[in-house]
Symmetry: C2
Subunit: 221 residues, 2 copies
Amino acid sequence: MTAPTPRSPRRSDALTRDRIVEAAIEILDEEGESHLTFRALTSRLSTGAGALYHHVANKDELLAAATDGIIGRELAEVQDDEEPAASIRATSLRIFDAIDAHPWVGTQLSREPWQPAVIQIWKVLGTQLQDIGVTGSARSDAGSALVNYILGAAAQYAAGARRIPDDGDRKAHLEALAAEWTRQDSDPLVHESASLLPEHEDRAQFLVGVDIFLAGITARR
Amino acid sequence: MTAPTPRSPRRSDALTRDRIVEAAIEILDEEGESHLTFRALTSRLSTGAGALYHHVANKDELLAAATDGIIGRELAEVQDDEEPAASIRATSLRIFDAIDAHPWVGTQLSREPWQPAVIQIWKVLGTQLQDIGVTGSARSDAGSALVNYILGAAAQYAAGARRIPDDGDRKAHLEALAAEWTRQDSDPLVHESASLLPEHEDRAQFLVGVDIFLAGITARR
DNA sequence: ACCTGAACACCGTTCAAGT
DNA sequence: ACCTGAACACCGTTCAAGT
């Protein structure tokens, strides 16, 4: 244990790990994943590259910390519903919405299974699964299915949203994509999928997936 | 001028897109994702960078083509079982095994939703869902849930396998990870998960996830 | 201890020049 | 048309030198 050392007044702009992670989140949100570089960070924080490495091991750790920051804030808001299945739906939607607001989080979450943000998700959903009466290795199996579904959907929707912006042109984009599919492929199933594409809503479809897994977990209990 | 043109041993034929994709798959399999560079490719194919760009638009397209090559070969082997649910299990396991053999495929599949390999997976599973009696927008919802689960699990297991090699030390690695979890976290749920970790089998757990999904589809039909 | 910023060892991609 | 390979505009990371 160290004795409380008297310190000189902290410079208000002292570099800390948190400040670096915050700056990284700003760049990721404002300019996108490809613009997060150590050079952009040093410029935004008016420092040198070596200073950043004094607080952060490398870029992977920085991305994991930024992701953990976003997911942590979101999961802190989770309030358990009286109906345990409703809590699982709410948690899943929170994660979906966080990724919708920060697409880079969707990419990062599927990159490293034991990063802090993924462990957080596991813990919250694991507890909620316990609440609906799933325990032991069944909980571990159900949790893995649900987490893998959420992370997979997250990555796909995030990548899709990056390509097809959710603006006024969204429907036109989806119609163009549907037209491309039907042109390239005569399979009637592809045609049917293409016809459904323009009306497709990511968030609603994501929730249907959560419900399918919940129904499956209940059916097998 | 003297007679026949000297050629380097690997360069016995003209450069084609297929030859480039094959060489990329070799590098990815033998040396890993981080070693696939255009410089490594030019060296293996005894050519220049510009020549590669004459056949392939960029690195993303090359990775998508390599992934499509692996997935295409694997799905071509799919034979429909008499029991339609068994066909879905078999297809899912084929994709899992392909990713187990080529971890980079798992990473790539979750990067771009409308790449050829993902569309192939959609088509095969969509047809098999049709066979168990799911049609219209229900098929689209179920297909999205199943594909997202498979791709999410694929990415997680592939990233995990990269960190914890499936060799004699696997169990020791998992025990060390479990010990780390329990040290950092006193939550009894985390302790229970940690105790299950060393005996955990990715492939079996993946299949349980597919079964949960199938049970959910059946329950909601 | 904390920070600076030049230097190192790479990248993907382009393009004038060759056959 | 197809190919070559140097050049360009970047990267993440390191490290001797400063305060």
